[in-house]
């Protein structure tokens, strides 16, 4: 069993994170499907924004924070499936997530209704403390504590940078225990305390204007009874992320900027003592591009194109095609060499390293996910 497979079997939560545009969503879905197919687990993938066709293939079109079972299809197609393996998928909808959170923490339904109807609420719900990040983690916590799944795989939202995700629970807790918040929600007329808050209201007024500051203050006044709940909850979310039930799988490509961001992210994970379980290189070019004899053969094909084409009974077009085939191999060969160096440089810094090959087509169905899944488990090509 490869070590990534081991991770899927032993952990309860695997968080896929990394730079934007590296294929996190596909990797998360493929890892979840592979765990269900191969190890007979009950798996949930919490996804953020899958490509339309992939969502369709998983039957995700109507999803809205609710967990929906994905039909895993023909076991033969999947290349062998264990009994009992089932896959669910849910999509993160930050607005719905906040609504649920407010309802859960409200002392009574009428307070919840007043908050949800507040005009500031929508703006705040969508931008608040890296809203997407926090809600994804919150949803994870909620579902995990129900204990209905063997494994939950989380695809993470496109953050400004990956660190935002890690900081979201702590920032949420910090916000609701902040003294600024106490000052913000002080009734304007309560003389003595208001005087203590003066520097704050001075800056607040100057920046936001008294009207806006008033609105904001009224809004957080409505939330007042829930602070403790929020603080406790975000602490619990943070604890789950740091516990040994959870593992972070960092997904990246070998592009220079993705490698830079990933290097920084790995450092930050280590600094916070968070469990980095795997480093997944996606879109890895074929190893043949680094094979010396293949490179030498291609180079000869290019330099002797005219003679070779003649020998094969092809004319000028043949020489042109052989030349282009050789030039193409050379171009990708240079890229593959660079990518390999970048990969080796980064891989030395963490334990489990998995590679998924470059695909010349889009993943649009479960078979496609199955192929990526096999790659993740280092199983090689289809067993059929």
């Amino acid at each position: 069993m490869s070590s990534f497979a081991n991770l899927l079997v032993t952990k309860e939560v695997v968080v896929c994170c990394g730079p934007g545009g590296v294929g996190k969503t596909t990797i998360a879905a493929a890892a979840a499907a592979a765990a269900a197919w191969r190890f007979g687990l009950k798996v949930l993938v919490i996804t953020v924004d899958p490509a339309r066709r992939l969502a369709d293939a998983m039957g995700l079109e109507l999803l809205d924070n609710t967990e929906t079972e994905v039909d895993l299809g023909d076991p033969l197609v999947a290349g062998g499936k264990l009994e009992g393996g089932r896959l669910w998928a849910a999509m993160v909808n930050p607005r719905r997530g906040w609504d649920d959170l407010i309802r859960r923490h409200s002392p009574d339904p009428s307070t919840a209704a007043r908050i949800l109807a507040n005009p500031l609420y929508q703006e705040i719900a969508e931008r608040f403390v890296q809203s997407h990040d926090y809600i994804a983690m919150e949803m994870l916590y909620e579902i995990h504590s129900r204990g209905a799944y063997d494994l939950i795989v989380v695809d993470t939202p496109p953050s400004r940078n990956a660190i935002d995700l890690l900081e979201a629970p702590a920032r949420m807790g910090e916000f609701f225990s902040s003294r600024w918040l106490r000052w913000l929600t002080l009734p304007a007329r309560s003389g003595f305390l208001a005087a203590a808050a003066k520097p704050f209201t001075l800056v607040g007024n100057r920046v936001l204007g008294p009207q806006f500051l008033g609105d904001v203050s009224e809004f957080f006044g409505l939330l007042q009874g829930m602070y403790e709940g929020f603080v406790a909850r975000s602490a619990a979310v943070g604890e789950l992320l740091a516990s040994d039930r959870t593992s972070f799988a960092v997904v990246t490509t070998c592009d220079a900027s993705a490698i830079r961001e990933t290097g920084y992210f790995l450092k930050e994970l280590a600094r916070r003592n968070l469990p980095t379980g795997a480093l997944i290189f996606n879109k890895v070019l074929p190893a043949a591009l680094r094979d010396r004899s293949a490179l030498a053969a291609a180079a000869r094909m290019g330099s002797d194109a005219v003679a070779l084409a003649e020998e094969l009974g092809e004319g000028r077009a043949g020489a042109r095609v052989l030349g282009e085939v050789a030039a193409n191999f050379d171009r990708y060969g240079v890229v593959a060499k660079r990518h390999h160096e970048a990969r080796v440089g980064l891989a030395g810094r963490t334990g489990i390293v998995t590679e998924v090959g470059y695909l010349d087509h889009d993943i649009a169905d479960l078979q496609g996910l199955g192929r990526v899944g096999r790659s993740l488990l280092a199983e090689g090509p289809d067993r059929r």
Binding site: F175, S257, A296, A297
Partner: protein, 314 residues
Amino acid sequence: MVSGKGGVGRSTVSASLGALAASMGRRTLVCEADARGDVATLFEVATPSFVPALVEPNLWAMTMDTEASLQEYLRLHLRLPSFGGLGPLARMFDFLATAAPGVREILTMGKIAWEVRERHYDLVVVDAAASGHIVAQLGAPNAIKRLVAGPAPGAGSRSGGPLRDQTQWVADLLADRAVTGLVVVTTSEETPVNETIELIRRVGDETDVGPAAVIVNRVLPELFSRSDEETFARLSAAPVIDRLAELVEGPVGPALEVAQSARRLRQHRVGHLNRLRSALDPTLAMALIPELFAPGHGRRLLYQVTEALRQELT
């Protein structure tokens, strides 16, 4: 304003647009609004700076810092006393920006608009937020206007606070199609193309900003002409590969397979590119930047992309 999905090369294209304009004699500022330091890396500047720094003739670069923007605002417009160190102010600001939606965005947009109005650049290129955040960034002035039912403009400007004061003229500047345009950077892959189509629709529906162009980065070359395709198919047949391998005395399979794969990849990408074209207003400008395969770093990369843009645009 330059946006696009993460990973498509937004910062590189932004910096290159700036470098191209500067090389044509326009006084240009490149502003990295989503501070990740990529623009500074491209210009090989040691530390990103909030104060615009001259990086090439006619070309200045800066990195947005909303706290510094707030301090500058307070100093210039309100003549507020100093708050001592940056520490307490920074923490208070962090809190305010968390509690009050749009504070960060308006300070970013306000600073950019201020540079446009006060510093007389011919062009300001903003490496703006990624497609997930750009609508909030561009829409911040209007969102604030909706939220702040303050006094009418002009009726004691101080009472509204900077948010209120800055909104109207920043909103006007953004909505003026002769001044501001949105450039969306994408690749011809499935998800970036979907996001580009969606982003242009949302920006049209939810903001007053006009789209100016779509730049498709990393476009793959066509390997074979249509007639050469047949030749390639003949040469890829198993017996021919064996013969070829004998002739060059080495394995040629990988080269032919990689060529086949590159063909397929390009076909898929062309499909997505066509989908993009047909989804967009045909009058919207579209520019293509070829895949560089082995791009350089820093200024070398900047030069390569700038030259590709020059060929495409001039």
